[in-house]
């Protein structure tokens, strides 16, 4: 198969776009596509100060690389979760290596050192998530990302969610008709309240396969192994179903997601779009819909009760983050 632009041997064929490209032209094409979506969904401009949530995986490191190449001011945020089997150590190593190689600033927050327990410990103590730590992991990551963005005066928080991530969540929420989640799924979540960071997903129309190809062709060293807790997760289950559809009908995943965005724009979920009432958490001040304390503070209260005075926990110190580089 030949590159459509230069006729050289192609490195990737994107059946959904009927487009094959060589490595050189693919590495030009993908950032151009991202730039197009950043503008189309009015995600941010070159005057914004961006914080990119970096896990050490192909999507987040690829996103950071693309934003850097496009000329945006983007620092990285790595959250150390304390995942076993060397997963967290290796993911931090990849994030740090990327930051050093490109002269970029990486902010790190180690959950255990900052708050007193790892994510697997949190899951065990809190009994949240039906035996999996993914639920408490998500809660902690969302909280810390928002907190660091706010405290560091970042105007935008960017995450590496790709098209496959978005389509899988959409599929899951649609099969259960979770309209309150469907109405909130979007390439951009505006900073609608004081204390809430503007969240954007510049890769929301980029296939996971395309991001893996980008990382390989750019020589980005990323953590290849799956998070040990994600194996057998519902997200992967829905991704597999969607990929079976994609195999028979190239573009099925993209159409599913784009038609959803169009339906939303046309008012399909207008009745569910009522504003959720938020107020500052009594303890930490972050916006919450809970009546008194936010779910993050309540979760950590449980942990403190179980682990007692041995915990080196202080209430959200101002020096929450350790700046590297």
């Amino acid at each position: 198969m030949k590159c459509r632009k230069c006729g050289a041997t192609a490195a990737i064929n994107m059946r959904q776009h009927k487009l094959a490209l060589c490595g050189e032209h693919y590495l030009e094409w993908l950032p151009d596509q991202c730039q197009r979506f950043i503008e189309k969904y009015q995600m941010f401009t070159r005057t914004d100060k961006l914080l990119v949530a970096v896990s050490g995986g192909k999507d987040s490191l690829g996103l950071w690389d693309i934003l850097h190449r496009l000329g945006y001011q983007a620092d990285g945020l790595y959250i150390g979760l304390g995942i076993e089997q060397g997963y967290s150590n290796e993911s931090l190593r990849c994030a740090e290596a990327f930051a050093q190689a490109h002269g970029l600033k990486l902010v790190t927050v180690e959950i255990e050192a900052t708050y007193g327990a790892t994510v697997p410990e949190l899951a065990e103590i809190s009994h949240r998530g039906q035996g999996r730590p993914c639920s408490v992991c998500g809660l902690n990551k969302r909280y810390i990302m928002n907190r660091v963005a706010h405290d560091g005066d970042y105007t935008v928080l960017a995450t590496g969610h790709n098209l496959d991530d978005e389509a899988a969540v959409l599929f899951q929420n649609t099969t259960q008709w979770l309209s309150e989640y469907l109405v909130r799924q979007s390439p951009v979540l505006p900073a609608s309240r004081p204390g809430l960071a503007r969240k954007v997903k510049p890769l929301c129309r980029i296939y996971e396969r395309e991001m893996a190809a980008y990382a390989l062709l750019r020589g980005i060293e990323y953590i290849y192994d799956e998070c040990p807790h994600a194996i057998g997760s519902t997200t992967i289950y829905y991704k597999e179903i969607l990929n079976k559809m994609e195999e028979d009908r190239p573009g099925a995943k993209l159409q599913f997601y784009l038609n959803f965005l169009q339906a939303k724009d046309n008012g399909l979920f207008a009745l569910q779009a009522a504003e959720i009432e938020l107020h500052p958490c009594n303890r930490c001040g972050q916006p919450t819909s809970a009546p008194n304390d936010c779910s993050f503070c309540r979760l950590w209260d449980k942990v403190r009760q179980v682990k007692g005075a041995q915990l080196p926990v202080t209430p959200l110190p101002p020096d929450l983050v350790q700046i590297q580089l």
């Binding site: 490195a11 396969r209 991001m211 190809a213 290849y224 799956e226 992967i236």
Partner: protein
Amino acid sequence: MSKPLIKLKYRDKEFEVPAGMTARDAIKKVGLQPETILAVVEGKLVTDDTILQVGMQVKLIAVISGGAR
């Protein structure tokens, strides 16, 4: 006479398929989904219509990641 076999490396596994297949057919033959795999031959990313020939070093790269993010 049966066709010579070529080896495909995938994570910590190794598969053998007959030479002369496309990468896409080989990925399907070993029970993987072509949409979730990239083929790397001699260290270079290739399209899945590439014919796999004897002597090629073929590595299959999984692209899926998951869990709550």
